[in-house]
Symmetry: C2
Subunit: 160 residues, 2 copies
Amino acid sequence: MNVTEVERTLGAAEDSCRASGARLTDKRKNVLAVLLRSQKPLSAYDIVDQYSKDYGGPIPAMSVYRMLEFLAKENLAHKLNSENKYLACAHINCNHHHRTPQFLICGSCNKVIEIGIRPEMIEALRDAVKAAGFRLQSSQLELNCLCDNCAKESVTTADS
Amino acid sequence: MNVTEVERTLGAAEDSCRASGARLTDKRKNVLAVLLRSQKPLSAYDIVDQYSKDYGGPIPAMSVYRMLEFLAKENLAHKLNSENKYLACAHINCNHHHRTPQFLICGSCNKVIEIGIRPEMIEALRDAVKAAGFRLQSSQLELNCLCDNCAKESVTTADS
DNA sequence: GCCCTAAATGATATGGTGTATCATAATTAT
DNA sequence: ATAATTATGATACACCATATCATTTAGGGC
């Protein structure tokens, strides 16, 4: 995400927090900015490193964890449970109604995209779970994939 | 799983390994037995602890990781990526054709069951992923759920 | 503005998780 | 029997996550 987009998204994040009465402090905003500028999901310690590069001073890992927790609660960031990494929500700008996201994770280049699977499909999943004697609590899915780019390369590599 | 069932399942595991030319050593079998006797998924270090209780001596964590890797490759155990825990495959005995499993994880009591979602649903998921420019690599899903038992209790608690 | 309270951040310590590396033991094949 | 492969042990270390207590900062009522 380029600088302009980051700025605009941070503005939207501020609006969103103002609306919900949450305090988007400077450091929380900086952590969000680090996520927004990253092309890939980051671990808490990745963020610590990048933060100190971007903002000229260290930040305690403990604080980063807390800020990530805050951002997740405000729906400004998501946690990838399968990787223990974090990424900015892809819809901070949009006025989309917020649905639980699904993530496609490229196992080769680690690129991740956030999608929204058709609600009917989620409902079918919910039914299947119910039939097994459980209740679906979260429809956040983290799917192990290859992006088309890496899929193409692996074919090329295999052929050569 | 009771003692008799464990014995029978270990026998099936031996058959399976013999068929594939893999070596199910005593310790690997013991690790599998620990998983079979457990009602819940175990971390590698949980297994280290339980192993030393059950077999009267310590086992290096490093070895447990390697044995789990072996068991997973032989489809005798599965890894829950979202929890970094392991459980025995539910179908070692059955002659089921082996499909990629899906797991329902109770967020309250940590009970986990292994299910097989209808292939058509998996295909629909695969299509949705493809439409987003990715290819689904694994159909192993780990779904955050409540088991009916815990769901009932939480309702009761809420009412009282 | 001042004080009080609550919220946010910092500092430190600690435990759990996972892997790299090299050494040793056991198994298999020739 | 010996060599090669595979399995296991031992040690070290890096990373991940949280608990705890101290300190700073922000907001609300006066």
